[in-house]
Amino acid sequence: MNPAPTSNLPQQLEAILFWKAEPVTFKKLAQLLSIEKTDTTEGVKVTEEQIKTGLIELEKTLQGRGLSLVQTDAEVMLGTAKELSPLIEKLTKEELTRDLGKAGLETLSIILYQGPISRADIDYIRGVNSQFIIRNLLIRGLVERIDNPKDARSFLYKTTLDLLAHLGISKIEELPEYDKVRADIESFKNQQSTDVVDKSNQATDATIGA
């Protein structure tokens, strides 16, 4: 079912590097693009040499575009073109200074009172999807991500110490009406889980782009 990997290797590399958005080793790329032999299909073995050749081709197609490759002798990543760095600086600045907006403030409040909390739970309480908002809160150093002890594939979010200091509190319990707010949200969650309500949406982390 997969097309022969060498025919469109540059496209495949571009898609992987775009999706990963972090440095990936040549070795890892070779491994990702190789297809294991099964009873019914021939396997395909991609070498690191082929990856390097593919990257040279990809680099050519990226000429004059908004993206470019950044390589060391062992790994590669996709980034924005160097000549556009003033534009990216402007973006960064904009991202750090713009208003959080109602959705951002609301999400941050939930993480403040309920954290550490999973994205699925934030979404569930808000009744909407929060993936892009959380990213902005991370970039701005307002929340941080920790591993979820109950599920290795997902994360939990909590407020940063910087934010607590900024708000002038040393412990979460000092938050106004802390117990009351938590109890109200807890009772909503319990009420919902005893209902016949379809909660399959809890699996939001498994949807798109998560």
Partner: protein
């Protein structure tokens, strides 16, 4: 011709029992499509009996849902009455209800057809956004608007907006209650028409037609009982409603 169809329907209606329907329109459309009919008042009159037979089995259905079924049943009864007694005068509102039902069914049917294409695409060859693995180098940048007071008031708003258990909207309850009256008067109207047109019935089919209308009246009575059941139940049944939009259903 009619006899054949009756037999087929009875067989199918039996099978249908095991299926679950998303709502009254889903059931109605299924009944029409099983008979390979187009959506119009004629086909709706033909499936009325089947539809009523279905809702008779809904003893255990949550109140909120069965109310929706009963509302549709009332419109079907009008259509059926009119088809049995073309002399029967319908009010403008009743005519409007009949037309609305046809339109809704046609839209619903078109959407269901289109949804097959949506299902085929869904998750098949997805386009992926960047994963969120991308490392961020955070720069602490708070928003001056975010204070403890603001945070608490936002959460209180949010808690206030969480979906809660609420009574079935008054509009629907009233509709179902008034339906009981509607069926009462409909029965009277049909009986009245029947006495008037009895003389005009052509000799050959006379017995047949009278019998049919009498059994239809019996069916009206059954629906009436169902409505009583539903309205009684409504006093202690709750269903969930979105707070911002209570009371806007259109039927």
């Amino acid at each position: 011709m009619t006899n054949n169809q009756e037999t087929i329907t009875k067989g199918q209606a039996f099978q249908v029992k095991s299926q679950s329907f998303e709502g009254p329109l889903d059931l109605l459309l299924d009944l029409i499509e099983k008979r390979k009919l187009f959506i119009n008042d004629i086909s709706l009159a033909k499936v009325t009996d089947d539809f009523i037979a279905h809702i008779q089995q809904f003893e255990n259905m949550p109140m909120g849902e069965s109310a929706h079924f009963i509302l549709i049943a009332s419109t079907l009864l009008l259509i059926k009455s009119k088809s049995l007694l073309p002399e029967l005068n319908l009010t403008e509102e009743e005519k409007g209800d009949i037309h609305h039902l046809e339109t809704r069914l046609k839209i619903y049917q078109r959407i269901k057809e289109a949804s097959k294409g949506v299902q085929a695409l869904f998750g098949g060859n997805a386009i992926f956004a960047q994963s969120h693995a991308r490392p961020v180098s955070p720069v602490f940048a708070p928003d001056a608007e975010f204070t403890l007071e603001k945070s608490l008031s936002l959460l209180k708003d949010l808690i206030g907006r969480l979906p809660k258990k609420e009574k079935l909207p008054q509009v629907v309850v009233q509709k179902v209650i008034s339906l009981e009256d509607m069926i009462g008067t409909l029965t009277q109207r049909i009986q009245g028409q029947l006495r008037m047109s009895f003389k005009s019935f052509a000799g050959e089919h006379k017995e047949n037609r009278v019998n049919f209308i009498v059994s239809f009246l019996a069916m009206l009575e059954l629906v009436k009982q169902g409505i009583v059941h539903v309205t009684q139940e409504s006093a202690f049944s709750d269903i969930q409603m979105e707070t911002k939009e209570v009371g806007v259903p259109r039927y």
